[in-house]
C-alpha cells in the first residue's frame, strides 16, 4: 500500500482515554433485537463522528470483559449513545440489549479512534462527497456521521448504501427517511436475504452497481469521493474489493471491521 499523505492522517494525541464511570440513563428500542442506550458519563471529554468506546463489564465475582461499541450520535453534554445489535450466542450484547436497566453502571473508555472519523470542512471550496457503506450494525458510526452532518449544517454530498439481511433488521429507518427528505442525504437500502414486497432490487449481497455513483447524484469531479465502510469483517472485505474495482483507491477508503458479528 502506498503511503497516506501526512495531512490526511490527523494528528495523534487528544484527551487521554481513561476508564470512566457511566450510568445508563436512556433506552430506545430500534428493532426486535437492537436498542439504543444513552449513558451519563460525567467526565466525558467529547468526541468526533465515527469514534467508538470500549465498555468494561465486571461481575460480582470480579470477572470482567470488554467490548467496543461505536458512538451513535454527536456529543451532547456528557451523554454518550450507542446502538447494540444482539448476537444470539454472545456474551455481552444479549446483556446490553435484554437485561441492563436504567440506573445500572459500567465503565467506559473513550473516545477511541482518530482514523475512522468524519468532520465537516466548511473552509473547503468544494466539500468532499462521502459514500457510506454499511453492513448490519456497521451503520452505527455512519449514522453518527449523518447526524453530525445535519447538526453542523454541512452540505457535503452524502450517500448511504445500507445492507441488511431482511426488512426487520433496518436500524434508524424513520430518521434515515427524514435525512433523505430534509437534508438531501441519498439513502439506498440493499437486502441480502429477503426484500420487502415489490422491492425492485432482488435480494443479494452488495455489487458494483449498488456502490457506483448514480449519474444524477451531482457529485463534483474533484475532490474524489471518500468511502467509509463498516460492518462484519467479511462484508467489509467484499465492499472494499468492490470499491477498488470501481476505481476507488486505498487513499480514499476508510474501513472499520466489527468481527464476525453485526450481520
Amino acid at each position: 500500500m502506498t503511503e497516506t499523505p501526512l495531512r490526511d492522517r490527523g494528528k495523534v494525541g487528544g484527551p487521554r482515554p481513561r476508564w470512566l464511570p457511566a450510568r445508563l440513563a436512556g433506552l430506545r428500542s430500534e428493532t426486535g433485537t437492537a436498542r439504543t442506550m444513552t449513558f451519563d458519563v460525567p467526565e466525558w471529554p467529547g468526541h468526533q463522528a465515527g469514534q467508538h468506546v470500549d465498555l468494561r463489564l465486571t461481575a460480582a465475582d470480579g470477572y470482567s470483559t470488554e467490548r467496543s461499541y461505536s458512538i451513535a450520535a454527536p456529543a451532547e453534554d456528557a451523554r454518550v449513545s450507542i446502538t447494540v445489535q444482539e448476537v444470539g450466542t454472545g456474551e455481552v450484547s444479549p446483556y446490553l440489549v435484554e437485561n441492563m436497566e436504567l440506573g445500572d453502571a459500567l465503565e467506559m473508555r473513550g473516545p477511541i479512534g482518530g482514523w475512522f472519523v468524519w468532520s465537516p470542512s466548511p473552509e473547503a471550496p468544494v466539500e468532499q462527497p462521502i459514500l457510506l457503506v454499511a453492513g448490519g450494525s456497521g451503520v452505527v458510526p455512519l449514522m453518527a456521521m449523518v447526524r453530525e452532518r445535519a447538526r453542523s449544517g454541512s452540505r457535503a454530498p452524502f450517500r448511504l448504501v445500507y445492507s441488511v439481511r431482511d426488512p426487520g433488521q433496518v436500524l434508524f429507518a424513520p430518521e434515515l427517511a427524514q435525512h433523505a427528505q430534509d437534508e438531501g442525504v441519498q439513502v439506498d437500502l440493499v437486502y441480502s436475504r429477503e426484500t420487502p414486497k415489490d422491492f425492485a432490487r432482488p435480494a443479494g449481497r452488495i455489487t458494483a452497481r449498488d456502490l457506483a455513483t448514480p449519474p444524477d447524484a451531482g457529485w463534483p469531479d474533484d475532490p474524489p469521493p471518500r468511502a467509509y465502510v463498516c460492518g462484519p469483517t467479511a462484508f467489509v472485505e467484499h465492499a472494499i474489493r468492490t470499491l477498488l474495482d470501481l476505481g476507488y483507491t486505498n487513499h480514499n477508503i476508510r474501513a472499520e471491521r466489527f468481527g464476525p458479528s453485526g450481520g
Binding site: 500500500m1 497516506t4 501526512l6 467496543s68 479512534g113 482514523w115 473552509e123 469483517t233 466489527f258
Partner: protein
Amino acid sequence: MTEQSASNSLDGNAAAGPFTDVFGFDVSTVLVTCGGCRASAVFAEQRAFLGGPGTVLRCPGCDHLLARVVQTTDELWLDMSGSSCWRFPLEASTA
C-alpha cells in the same frame, strides 16, 4: 493467513483502546512499518486480534506480528519487535 482467520479478524480500530494504556493517547493514525515486508499503513488499517494473550497487531500483507500489548496483574507489556518504525503525525495541516 487462512481465509477463516482473515474473515474473523478485526482491524487496528479495535486495538486502539488497549494500546492507549501504554501510549496514553490514541494511536490510530500512527504510520506503522512492517519489519517483515516493509509495507507501511496506519495503525487503524493493520489487522488486529483480541482476546489473547493480549491485543495483537499483524501486517495485513504478510501476517507478520507487528506489536502486542499484554496486561498482567502487575505489568503492562509492550512488544514491538516486529515493526521497524512508528511515525507519529504531530500536526494536522489543512492543505
